[in-house]
């Protein structure tokens, strides 16, 4: 007996045969299923009401199209396979510039023929230095540029979705926000937030305060705020103290919503037809088959209805997470002692050295083929000159 068969029988509520008992004795996985079938049987349907975000459906298609347009397979694959991170790509970009410079300097020196050996060396050393410093600079900025790209991307997606959905009647935009605020008085701040939310017709979904009074307490609130009042609410909440973090997201659920709606419509129509069939059915097996189909459709109708209701709720009420930290009243900020600071800076130094060595190693590996090439060019040129001189 195979596990798949065992599972099928268990999950359909079938009788356990001696064959199955034998299998379960040797198979821990099936034993675990048999013992827990009552709670695990729902797993197979776990993803049935997962809403696939419209931004994902559009996003990967756009990305693939872009990639197809600028495809140069051999080079791109080598790069993407060999180099995982942006950092490394940046290092190599610096190295490529340096290698080109190296080739030019090397060739120029040889062709010029006047430069002494030591001059050539120092020129090489200078370009190598340049490579390292530009690699270092790339290190420093790579995170920023990644963040910049992310922003550009999301802007693009948003613009695209706005033009795409223009034909549809009502847009379903879900907005969420998170905020961290440092406040003087936790109790007053929490009370003010609660009051404001209620005045706006929203609700406090959860509120948790931890820590001891006077030692810097911490609170986390989850609130539902009517969509139209979100901006006003956020600026009001910000006025409670010092805002240390603020973020908000806009998700366009329009496509999902209307897609659900049209599926819902067709499911309802199908169910109506089946209801009529059911009323006329005579044959027992027909009745069973129709009942099953009706059950499935009803499930789908409920799922779709629920999904769209949830979207409606999320459009109407923005979810806001606010965390509050209370400034500790009597504990002055401690400066770390000398030992801690020494330890920290030593650690920083070691990390910086490791970063540097990594860049250096990558540079050397990258430059190796170039060096071979340069050596060959130099050898050829030297050969030519020797031949000329002999004549």
């Amino acid at each position: 007996m195979r596990c798949e068969e065992f599972e099928r029988i268990i999950l359909s509520g079938g009788e356990i045969t001696p064959d199955m008992r034998d299998h379960a004795q040797h198979c821990a996985a099936c034993r675990a299923l048999e013992e827990n079938a009552d709670v695990l049987s729902g797993a197979r349907d776990m993803d049935r009401d997962v809403e696939v975000p419209a931004s994902f459906c559009r996003g990967w298609r756009a990305q693939v199209r872009r990639d197809a347009a600028m495809r140069r397979p051999s080079l791109r694959e080598r790069i993407s396979d060999g180099l995982a991170s942006l950092n490394r790509r940046m290092v190599l970009r610096g190295a490529a510039v340096a290698a080109c410079a190296l080739v030019l300097v090397g060739v120029g020196a040889q062709l010029g023929g006047r430069e002494s050996v030591s001059d050539t060396y120092s020129a090489k050393a200078r370009t190598a230095n340049y490579a390292l410093s530009s690699a270092g600079a790339a290190y420093g900025t790579s995170y920023d540029s990644a963040a910049m790209f992310a922003e550009e991307d999301s802007g693009e997606t948003e613009a695209r979705s706005l033009s795409d959905g223009a034909a549809q009647s009502e847009r379903k935009i879900v907005r969420t926000a998170q905020m961290s605020v440092e406040v003087e008085d936790m109790d007053a701040a929490v009370a003010a937030l609660q009051e404001r939310v209620q005045a706006l017709g929203g609700t406090v979904d959860s509120c948790e305060i931890s820590g001891r009074r006077g030692e810097g307490r911490w609170a986390s609130l989850t609130l539902s705020v009517p969509g139209g009042a979100l901006d006003g609410f956020l600026s009001g909440a910000g006025a409670l103290g010092t805002v240390t973090r603020e973020a908000s997201q806009t998700t366009d659920m329009t496509d999902t919503y209307y897609d659900n709606a049209s599926r819902l419509e067709s499911a309802r129509a199908q169910k109506q037809r089946l209801d009529e069939l059911y009323a006329q059915a005579q044959d027992m097996s027909d009745i069973i088959e129709i009942t099953d189909a009706i059950y499935d459709l009803q499930w789908e109708i409920d799922t779709l209805t629920g999904a769209n209701q949830r979207i409606d709720t999320r459009v109407a009420l923005s979810q806001v997470s606010i965390s509050l930290t209370e400034k500790a009243s009597d504990a002055p900020e401690e400066t770390p002692d000398l030992l801690t600071r020494v330890k920290e800076s030593a650690q920083d130094g070691v990390e910086a050295l490791a970063d540097f060595l990594e860049s250096l190693l990558l540079l050397i590996i990258w430059a190796l083929p170039w060096l071979v090439l340069i050596a060959a060019v130099v050898a050829v040129i030297a050969g030519i000159r020797r031949v000329r001189r002999r004549r």
Partner: protein, 188 residues
């Protein structure tokens, strides 16, 4: 049908690829969502998986079903993304929890009981270690066979079974703790 789309997509035909993967996008997204544990990371990871499938399509030789290969690439994207994920500060973790809970919070009154169970499984699954979680998702949610799961994750069939048994036990324990299943089943 599928094989001709695969061939066209291998040749660089993006629209063939879109048609081909349109049938899988839901599965890819759902797997990433459950592996990553929140919609934001799930979507990022799914996006990367789709791009990786496109870029590595030439490596698919037809030794396994295409769907198995799609799962394989997707699962490895999830593993990479989980490995990359930096350790979160507790503050961020709590905010992210809030972000998640929010997704589930406004429950329509006529919500299915089945849906409650699904949501509970999804929640409990987040606490199962990633290597067991991926086995459970492929076997018990996406319905892959033991062999295909092994192929998709690059592990042996025996490992699939042992991880699966631990995942099932962990999940069941956590679901019972939340009050699912017949009460006082063991009379304890």
């Amino acid at each position: 049908m599928e094989s001709s789309l695969i061939a066209a997509a291998k040749g660089g035909d993006a629209s063939a690829f879109e048609t081909l993967m349109g049938a899988y996008e839901r599965k890819v997204y759902a797997l990433c969502l459950r592996m990553m544990g929140n919609p934001h990371d799930g979507e990022d990871c799914a996006q990367e998986a789709m791009l990786r499938i496109w870029q590595r399509l030439s490596q698919y030789r037809g030794d396994s079903a295409f769907s198995t290969w799609v799962y394989r690439v997707t699962a490895s994207c999830c593993t990479d993304a989980l490995r990359r994920r930096r350790p979160q500060s507790s503050l961020e973790a709590m905010q992210e929890d809030g972000f998640d809970a929010r997704d589930d919070a406004p429950t329509p009154p006529e919500a299915h009981e089945a849906r409650e169970t699904q949501r509970a499984i999804a929640g409990a699954l987040a606490d199962v270690p990633a290597d067991m979680r991926s086995v459970f998702l492929l076997r018990d949610v996406h319905g892959l066979s033991v062999e295909d799961t092994a192929r998709a994750l690059g592990i042996s069939g025996g490992t699939v079974k042992s991880r699966l048994s631990r995942a099932r036990e962990k999940l069941a324990r956590s679901l019972r703790a939340q009050g699912f299943g017949p009460q006082n089943r063991d009379g304890r």
